[in-house]
Subunit: 144 residues, 2 copies
Amino acid sequence: MKDAPRLDRQVCFALYSASRAATAVYRPVLEDLGLTYPQYLVMLVLWESEPKGVKELGGELGLDSGTLSPLLKRLEAMGLVERRRSGEDERRVAVHLTPAGRELSSKANAIPQRLAEAAGLSDGELEQLRSTLERLTEALHSSH
Amino acid sequence: MKDAPRLDRQVCFALYSASRAATAVYRPVLEDLGLTYPQYLVMLVLWESEPKGVKELGGELGLDSGTLSPLLKRLEAMGLVERRRSGEDERRVAVHLTPAGRELSSKANAIPQRLAEAAGLSDGELEQLRSTLERLTEALHSSH
DNA sequence: CACAATTCAATTGTGCACAACTTATCTCGA
DNA sequence: TCGAGATAAGTTGTGCACAATTGAATTGTG
C-alpha cells in the first residue's frame, strides 16, 4: 500500500512521542517527591489556589472524575491532600492541601528548569512551541 | 506559594494537553476502523513494511514488549495481524499482516487529513511544529 | 410544593505505558 | 564446546485516560 500515511510525517505521532519523552524526563525527578506526572499537575493547580472541587481541577487539567477520583485518593493516602464534603453543596468535594502538601511545593520549585535544560531548545523556541501547542489544543477542542 | 511553577507556563503541560486533544480527534475516526490510536500506529508501521519483529516495532514507536505484546494479541484477535515464531531465531516473533489487515489501509488513507483540518494551523506551521517536536524528542531522549 | 432534569463525584471496565521480572533462545569467549 | 551473559518476547503490577453508569444532592418548572 504505497500511499498509506507515513508514520514519520504525522504531527500526531510527533506530539505523542514528545509528550512521552517529556514525562520520561520528569519521571526520575518526580520520583524523589513520590509523585507521578499527573499527580504533580494536580499539586501544581492546588499550589496556585486551594481548596478546589474535583470538577474545577478537571476543568483546568482536562481530566474527568474517572481519572481524578482515584488519583486524589492516592494523594490523600500519601497525606498531601484532604477531601472534605462541602457543607453548602453536599455533592461537591473540596480538595485541600495538608501542611505536608503545601510543604512539597518548595521541593518542586526547581523542577521545570530540568525540562528546559533537557529540551535542547532556546527559551524563545520553547515559548513559541508552547504558544503553538496551546493554539493547536484550542483548535482541536473546538473542532467537534 | 507565590513562586511555585505555574501550570500555564509549562511546555510539558502544553505537550500533554495537545497530545491528548489530538488523539481525541482521532478517536471517533479510528472507531470506525475498530482501532485505538496506538493500534493505528502499529498498523501504520506494518503498512509500510512487514513482517516486523516486536522489537523492531517497538524501536520505531518507542514502545516496549510490555505494551506491544497485549496490543498485538488484540490485533491478532481482530484478525488484522498474525504472529509467527521465526524459524531461524526461535526467540523472535514475526508480525505479519493478514489480508484483512492489509485491506484496512485503504480505509485509513483519509485519516491524517482529518487532523490537519481540525488543527487550525497552516501546512507550514504544522511542518514547523513537527520538526520542532522531533528535535525536542531527540534532545529529551539523549538527555539521560 | 412536587418532581423531572441536571449536576457532582465515584465506580466499573477497557486499553495503554512502563517498571520489574520470567522464560526461552542465542552468542561468544575461555 | 560449554557455560556466562545477552537478547527476544511475554507476564505482572501500578497508575493513568476515558467511556459509560450509578447514586446522591440540587435546581428549575409547572
